[in-house]
Symmetry: C2
Subunit: 305 residues, 2 copies
Amino acid sequence: MDWSAEITYALRRITPHVRRTPVIRLSLTGLPEIEVKLEHLQHTGSFKARGAFNSLLAAQVPAAGIAAASGGNHGAAVGYAAHTLGHKARIYVPEIAGPAKIALIQRTGADLVVVPGAYSDAAAAAEAYIAETGAMQVHAYDAPHTVAGQGTLMLEWEDQGLKADTVLIAVGGGGLIGGALAWLKGRRKVVAVEPETCATLANALDIGPETETNVSGVAANALGARQIGRIAYGLAKDLDVPSIVVPDSAILAAQKLLWEEARLLVEPAGACALAALLCGAYTPEPGEKVAVLLCGANPAPDPFG
Amino acid sequence: MDWSAEITYALRRITPHVRRTPVIRLSLTGLPEIEVKLEHLQHTGSFKARGAFNSLLAAQVPAAGIAAASGGNHGAAVGYAAHTLGHKARIYVPEIAGPAKIALIQRTGADLVVVPGAYSDAAAAAEAYIAETGAMQVHAYDAPHTVAGQGTLMLEWEDQGLKADTVLIAVGGGGLIGGALAWLKGRRKVVAVEPETCATLANALDIGPETETNVSGVAANALGARQIGRIAYGLAKDLDVPSIVVPDSAILAAQKLLWEEARLLVEPAGACALAALLCGAYTPEPGEKVAVLLCGANPAPDPFG
């Protein structure tokens, strides 16, 4: 796959529809100065809008429309992209997503189905619907157009003058880190950060790509994929990406710090990468310039909920 | 006063201590595309840090330290700037500020005095303390170093590539709009926006500069100065600045819209300028490019309070 070309085309496709999210330098208490990209200000509150628009714009969407299964952010992004582009969309959401994310999806105008159980149950329901109707599936993280869409974020960040030697990125199913690795190809160090309670990539790199991980904890409704995507796994393995895990307590402390010192309100998953610096799970070398991606801002409870 | 020089020096002084706050283009439901500066991500959650740092860095601070009276944001900024620069600070806060802003000031390490009553009571208490101890006063809005410090915001925004013909700015005592007018000197149109419940500049422009306005409503703890600053009044009068007022309901709707569609959590005062577009109090001409300043992000209740 010529990822550079795919990601460059993806950015051209999605530019009319997504926000060029801003960057800021922050010196937070106890941490070195970091570059931060505020991707949580993206449409529907996460980077997922990039992959969703790219997937819909790169395909011939059938009359039956779009279907997706999602813990929340991907579903909102697909619903929003479908609505913007004039397609029907049906989103299957596991109960675990919680009322804030379910309300977010409802606001996009998508047809919403809440499925009792976990993400895998929602995925099964989506697949049955797709088989019956011929609706188009948009995978949350393990499809080339999804990965290329998420990869536009790192292209954009470099265009905005990213200085960092090292970029910390939270990992769920691997769409975002896959896109980042596909764009950077080792030109900068990428560090994968996962909650201890959703250590899917870490386990896959340790034990094997087919490993199924039990997921729980404060970020499970965004980072709780039970198996890492094949695309992300392949890129992480080839590029020897370090994968580190952080306790939920560090994620909540990072979330609180971002609010208290910078008025950035993110969800736990959005604070996961910063948590690695805060708890010392990742300690930069002297002089190492570090960047942190804030990837999601759909917290529960919603302050206006 | 050579405001261009004052503001240029001010930016040089404060640059090591303040954030270069990011800008973003937003297309929100029902509105034209706007340029938005996220100044609410500044240290202590408002633009006030600029004026506070400039005031302290431009003066010889006495051993008795700093004293200020503030409805919240100015007090937090002065407390933070004093702590950063190694000075003692005592902040007098009217009860109206509410627990979220009072906690914000406490976190800066300042010596905090909560005064029963309104802003004027806190100001009287601060003046008595200053007379007794020789502490240095930092005025919230009507002193040249305060105004020049706030003016750095517009210098910075132009340096970031501001395209707008027209900039909408919320007005309390006039420090921020004074600084903006002092920098722009009519090169772009500036529109002053005030809550109907705190129409201090509008009343002064209508009736006279000494007019005292009764203040109340959702943004009173940030925009509730009873009399407009002389510096801001003079600049607004000379430059024929249009002053428009918006209902509190529009401010709350703008605050909710910023959260729901862009994950920007601001306080009511921070949404006041946007409210003018939302409720039609300000309608841009066809082709007129508009920018909106988000000036404060210390909402109550605090989502982590």
